[in-house]
Symmetry: C2
DNA sequence: GTAGGATTGGATAGGCAAATCCAATATGAG
DNA sequence: CTCATATTGGATTTGCCTATCCAATCCTAC
């Protein structure tokens, strides 16, 4: 196993822009065709760079994949953050559900979850990927839990509610629903799974 | 696109055994390393056959993959069938849950669901795979629904229960829970998701 | 403006995987 | 037992993908 120093971050504007373009193009391709289904020539074309740039900014394809995992994690967390930060009512929970369902609906379920797909492909064989993806899932579920915590603080949910378990259940509903949506090309299972989880949460609502 | 006739089924005992050995070896490898991560030489070695056998019994790798999808679908359905056929009580539902969780637990979540992994990798890019996988998921969810139907007939669940939605929710909980188990190497989310779904079903129990 | 490092273009080596081919051997129906 | 057919071994071709190399060009700090 030859060790090579990781390329340092680009030091110029142009360099940074190029690196970002490579990561964005790779993320898009890997989302649509998987990591193994994405060749470096394909990334090269999509990003409009030449072969050597990729290996100038990344030691190898694994290193690029690492950057894609970080990129997708950030993308999801920053998309979800505003929705989950204001999770202070049942209506807010429902509108979060609707956003997730709509996103899946718009593409007929195609694609699945960017993190889920990467995890399914990489987790078994690549420890470094699994660790990063597990951290991403943990951050996501904690963002959900923070929202539920707020609902407990608000008195909307009973104090004894196991918010950690609920946040795991919600995230699992999203992941599983998206897996099924991808195969079935509809969001029936995703909606059913989220609705069941939300209905269960309603049972933990404090009496008015 | 050159069309070639699909090889007819093997006509001798030995041929059938060889074909089965190839499918079983390919299924195992594709489960552990994905379809793209499984080379025909690897299958060749694992099955103890020579290169030409694979192309004698299958037109190409896609055709072999098709056989693997059918194999995994059959394997899952026949494993699940006995559990779901007797799904006539809450205890039976709980013991189904335990079997699923234990299976995941035994391998620390590694591997995920054989159908789910295949779907995640293939559904977007290969229509033929998506159709077969969607059919597999549908058969699975219908097996679950049949169990819930029995519980309605038994008077355990209220007649107005939406068993179709519940069966989708349960299957999504399994799929999502397994995706997370694969990354996290634990079954926390799988258990939480299944327990939430089962708790929700309990709310549909008819009054004693 | 200029020097020195950063960035870029494109050719290319090396390796592995998919698929083919044909000769050799095994099978089983009669 | 015999022969037509099924099965098997393994070399081989072809093509793509990863990764490297080096020369040319572009930045930017001074």
């Amino acid at each position: 196993m030859s060790v090579r120093a990781a390329p340092e971050a680009p030091s110029t504007h142009k360099g940074r822009a190029t690196r970002d373009r490579i990561v964005a193009a790779a993320a898009e391709l890997m989302y649509r065709h998987g990591v193994a289904g994405t060749s470096t020539p394909a990334v090269r074309n999509a990003a409009g760079v030449s072969s050597s740039q990729i290996y100038h900014y990344f030691t190898d394809k694994d290193d690029l994949t690492r950057a894609v995992i970080a990129f997708q994690t950030q993308t999801i967390l920053s998309n979800q953050a505003p929705l989950l930060a204001t999770l202070d009512s049942i209506e807010a929970l429902r509108s979060w559900r609707d956003v997730v369902v709509d996103a899946a609906h718009r593409q007929n379920g195609a694609g699945g979850c960017p993190l889920g797909s990467l995890s399914s492909e990489l987790s078994d064989d690549h420890r470094w990927a699994r660790d990063a993806l597990a951290a991403g899932f943990t951050a996501w579920s904690e963002a959900i839990r923070a929202g539920l915590d707020a609902m407990v603080d608000n008195g909307i949910l009973r104090p004894e509610t196991d918010v950690t378990a609920l946040s795991f259940a919600l995230l699992a509903a999203v992941q599983g629903g998206l897996v099924l949506a991808q195969a079935q090309h509809n969001t029936e299972a995703l909606e059913a799974a989220l609705d069941v989880a939300i209905a269960h949460i309603l049972n933990h609502a404090a009496p008015a």
